[in-house]
Symmetry: C2
Subunit: 284 residues, 2 copies
């Protein structure tokens, strides 16, 4: 019996290719771009995630600093700290690492970031630009999904893309991006009836709910590409939204870990360089 | 043989119900809301459309004025006129009637409108608010589609909605609204393969391309609700995107004329009252 396992869409390979292109753009700039992370408290996952972004930034020649505020920081202090970073003329990109501790309100913090330095692309102004077809900064995970498809030659135009999960950070901006690439896009979610029937229509599936194994082999059209964004901890192990039996049906799958997360990190750095390029051009 | 013709979703009835509710809200305000239309040139369709909006505004107690600029107005003069209206403290809503004459650029004009007076909901800030789940002004045609469904008891939660046409004015904001109502939403368009197969999945179809009869009976699931937004002139007659044979298959259809357009007009007035309520509350 032939091996029918899906191709693994290697996030490391895509991230490396992006890093190489971004390095060349940095080298062409009159000064290095500068990225500042704001992190509150000592959540180990957040700290590790910021470290990996910072490491890649430095590798491609982007200056990266992290402002760490104590867990008990109040809203006013956090706001003032973010505003000070945003107003610093030497800073091109600002990223407030989410989630914040429960006593802090994320929305006003994100809105305090200058949309032109908002390398996460979460500011409502950037959301509006994305859906209006105007230039702006786009959320990193959806950008990464698009880059994975392009790297591996997965066609989008005219294809059916089904996105499971409608978050502001992934599902909704991914819909905007795949629509821009002329896919027919469906947004499914927790209230979707007969999820399997909906997912089975897809040439490309994006699983972005955060519920372990919600996308199963029986729900996937043979040969489809499946991009796994979900992340849960089951018995101390990190697992995605894509069940193991999907690998026996799909044509290509992103592994977890080693898939979409690595490309998201690369896109944070790419967005910083894009922001710096625009700021330098505008200052001329 | 029983009569299997679809129910007609009467736009007049929905618009009248909205006007009644909006009148009551106007009566509760300390002063009448004020809406200003800006119209360039003498396109008869635009003139007639503005007149119908103005008539409904006045009927519910909203002050409505129209600033008519000559066809040959240049971009700078138009911008200055719009800014003057926007900055007038007595004005709650500003609507620049589209399309503008070909020598004028729409995008900077729409961006010059204060998002809080943008009763068309086209400003990128309002687009971002809509997709981010923040309060803001929402485009009128999609709001009207939602109102038609609510008026006639058409369920949205968990249903499949297929939107044909991905314009900034209708298709994309309608997707945001129906998603907010917990429908599973698909955006189809000119590059969609096998449009019939996609549309046949829908419990609710929105036809918003502007190509006469593009949605045909054979593409519609029996019993589905079909909302017709398209408008074309064929042999001197106004026709929609929905072919006549859809009425033999669908459960309910909006007529053209007499359907979605009338409800769009009512939503312009409703948005003006919403804008006035927020401005009055903020000034207290």
């Amino acid at each position: 019996m032939p091996d029918m396992r899906a191709t693994s869409l290697d996030g490391r390979a895509v991230a490396d290719a992006i890093a190489e292109r971004v390095s060349a753009r940095v080298a062409a700039l009159p000064r290095p771009p500068k990225l500042v992370f704001v992190r509150v408290g000592e959540d180990p996952a957040s700290a590790s995630y910021v470290r990996s972004k910072q490491r890649l930034a430095r590798r491609v020649g982007v200056e990266a600093e992290t402002l760490v505020l104590p867990e008990e920081t109040d809203q006013a202090t956090l706001m003032a700290s973010v505003v000070a970073v945003v107003e610093d003329e030497g800073v091109d990109g600002v990223l407030v690492q989410l989630p914040l501790p429960a006593h802090l309100d994320e929305a006003p913090v994100l809105e305090a970031i200058d949309p032109d330095k908002d390398v996460d692309g979460f500011h409502a102004v950037n959301v509006g630009r994305l859906w209006s077809g105007l230039p702006g900064l786009v959320p990193c995970t959806p950008l990464g999904l698009e880059a994975i498809c392009d790297h591996y030659g997965i066609t989008l135009q005219g294809q059916r893309v089904v996105i499971v999960g409608r978050s502001n950070l992934v599902g909704k901006p991914a819909a905007a991006l795949f629509l821009r690439r002329h896919a027919t896009v469906t947004l499914a979610h927790s209230r979707t009836r007969d999820l399997g029937d909906v997912v089975r229509e897809a040439d490309v599936v994006v699983a972005a709910v955060g519920r372990a194994g919600i996308v199963q082999g029986a729900m996937v059209k043979p040969g489809a590409a499946v991009l796994d964004v979900g992340m849960s901890r089951v018995d101390g192990k990190i697992v995605g939204d894509v069940a193991p039996d999907v690998w026996d049906v799909a044509g290509a799958v992103t592994p977890m870990p080693g898939g979409t997360g690595l490309v998201t990190v690369a896109m944070v750095v790419q967005n910083t360089v894009s922001a710096a390029e625009r700021r330098i051009a505008a200052a001329r």
